[in-house]
């Protein structure tokens, strides 16, 4: 039985990036709780921004990796996903 060629995207880069994003998000969250007043709120908000941005950046990274490996079908699927997400967010916010 064969299931095709093994994907060779450099996942170790993504593992390292995700590790540091987790450290940054958790660090900002701890600081946001520890710091008083407006500064604390701003830092806590930054932690939320990191958490929101990371899955979308991960999809962008995947699209770039699939592009480099010539997996055009999934480059297209990834782009369609981002278009649906962006369009859906816009529609939901406007409505």
């Amino acid at each position: 039985m064969t299931t095709g060629d093994l994907a060779r995207e450099p996942m170790d880069h993504l593992v390292r990036a995700l590790f540091w994003v987790v450290v940054i998000a958790a660090g900002l969250a701890v600081l946001g709780l520890a710091l008083p007043g407006e500064v604390g709120v701003a830092v806590a908000t930054a932690a939320v921004v990191v958490v929101i941005a990371s899955p979308l950046l991960r999809v962008l990274w995947l699209i770039a990796a699939w592009w480099r490996s010539g997996d055009w079908r999934f480059v297209g699927v990834g782009v369609v996903l981002l278009v649906v997400v962006a369009g859906g967010t816009l529609v939901a916010v406007l409505s």
Binding site: M11, V15, A25, P55, L56, V77, V85, G88, A92
Partner: protein, 272 residues
């Protein structure tokens, strides 16, 4: 809820959610509402939990190559499209009807996963550890399991995508991540190995949650300090849950998921 308790509650829900790829919002939100947090504030915190837990569990799932990004991105297109329609319909559907429908879905998924015996994707002698991972140009792959490496190829893709759009619809209407539907759909309808389904679902619920949080942020509904407390708990719980999932066998993961789904159904009906 006091900040230390919120951290603990988020940690527990993220750990449980990460083991089964269920997100955890369906556990945290009823808990918060039951302890006096307004529902309008609890829903965004549930999505913060899902997004942060997904982020924390991500590297562990990548390291053991159990997450299938190609499958995840493919099913998420259907789920996101369903979520948009659901968000637009959210004011139309009765909240009580929705809660009972969610509870029924959770029980059916629990029964389907919990009652199943045997292994659908058996290890193949031609596959070794070097073959674990996803494949170029397709949504299939191979996963390490007890006794060897098992190749898999998702079946009934059109039906799976249709079910994912329903999962997205439910997410959009109710404001939850939808992992409690996505994991059983991948595992029980598409015959994806449950560990791959759980890891891939953990990845996709992060995307769904991010989109929902963008909408909540636009509405000014995210309370930064509570969100920070949830992030701390979710990171710790998400890491612990992903580590635990890695150690459990597939049938054990299925039973954990079934148990959580029954708990979710009870919580839903209790808070309805």
């Amino acid at each position: 809820m006091a900040t230390p308790l919120l951290v603990l509650a988020a940690g527990f829900c993220a750990a449980v959610g990460s083991v089964g790829g269920l997100g955890g919002a369906l556990l945290l939100v009823p808990l918060l509402v039951a302890t006096g947090t307004p529902a309008t504030e609890a829903a965004p915190l549930g999505l913060v939990l899902v997004a942060a837990g997904s982020l924390a569990g991500g590297s562990r799932h990548l390291e053991d190559r159990s997450v299938n990004h190609r499958l995840g991105v493919t099913v998420e297109v259907a789920a996101s499209a369903g979520a948009v329609v659901g968000a637009l319909l959210s004011g139309v559907v009765s909240e009580t009807v929705l809660v009972y429908a969610l509870a029924a879905v959770a029980l059916v998924a629990a029964a389907a996963g919990g009652s199943r015996k045997g292994i659908r994707n058996a290890p193949h002698p031609a596959f070794g550890p070097e073959h674990v991972g996803e494949r170029v140009g397709m949504v299939g792959g191979a996963v390490a399991r007890v006794g060897g490496v098992a190749p898999y190829r998702p079946r009934r893709l059109p039906l799976g995508l249709a079910a994912m759009s329903v999962a997205g619809l439910v997410s959009g209407i109710s404001g939850v991540g939808g992992g409690f539907i996505k994991t059983p759909v991948m595992s029980e309808i598409m015959y994806v190995p449950v560990k791959v389904a759980a890891a891939t679902s953990t990845f996709t619920v992060g995307i769904t949650a991010a989109v929902g949080l963008l909408v909540f942020a636009g509405q000014g509904r995210i309370e930064a300090h509570s969100a920070a407390a949830v992030i701390i708990g979710s990171v710790v719980g998400g890491l612990a849950g992903a580590r635990l999932q890695n150690r459990l066998r597939g049938p054990a993961v299925r039973k954990v998921i079934a148990g959580i789904l029954v708990l979710v159904a009870i919580l839903l009906v209790a808070t309805a």
